[in-house]
Symmetry: C2
Subunit: 86 residues, 2 copies
């Protein structure tokens, strides 16, 4: 499973979401992580993020079957310098 995670937390708390996300995914842009993840790790990620969030904060997880992400294109300066097509 390929997952893209985006989050929006209070400024002084964003590092907490990043810390959790980095255990399972790759940080690709401010507030965005992505990567291949196992079912078990996805479950752990879900639980940790769900527990972290406070009112007014949110995170979205897009689960994509691994072979069906048609195109991933980075415009501008890619922080990860990674223009891979999946």
């Amino acid at each position: 499973m390929y997952v893209v995670m985006v989050y929006d937390l209070e400024a002084e708390r964003t590092h907490k979401a990043l810390k959790i996300g980095r255990r399972y995914l790759t940080h690709v842009q401010n507030s965005v992580l992505e990567g291949e993840i196992s079912k078990g790790d996805l479950e752990r990620l879900r639980n940790e993020i769900d527990e972290l969030l406070q009112p007014g904060e949110s995170a979205i997880l897009y689960e994509i079957s691994s072979d069906s992400l048609v195109n991933r294109t980075v415009y501008g300066d890619d922080p990860t310098d990674d223009q891979r097509f999946l």
Copy 2:
């Protein structure tokens, strides 16, 4: 085609990316838009975003074939109040 777009611009310029994105997609979170888009509109979106970005800024477009987004889950407070499964 279903597209998720995330962007990271200088704070005082983010509204410009949002303005372009909103012409084609739905704003679902701070710096994140998504939605169904035609090939023609996707091309227009690409060109407008590419033209907008300055050094150090970036945008990522994930193109997903419409039936392969397995799950979209929002944790915390959904700004769009939209928990749809696609």
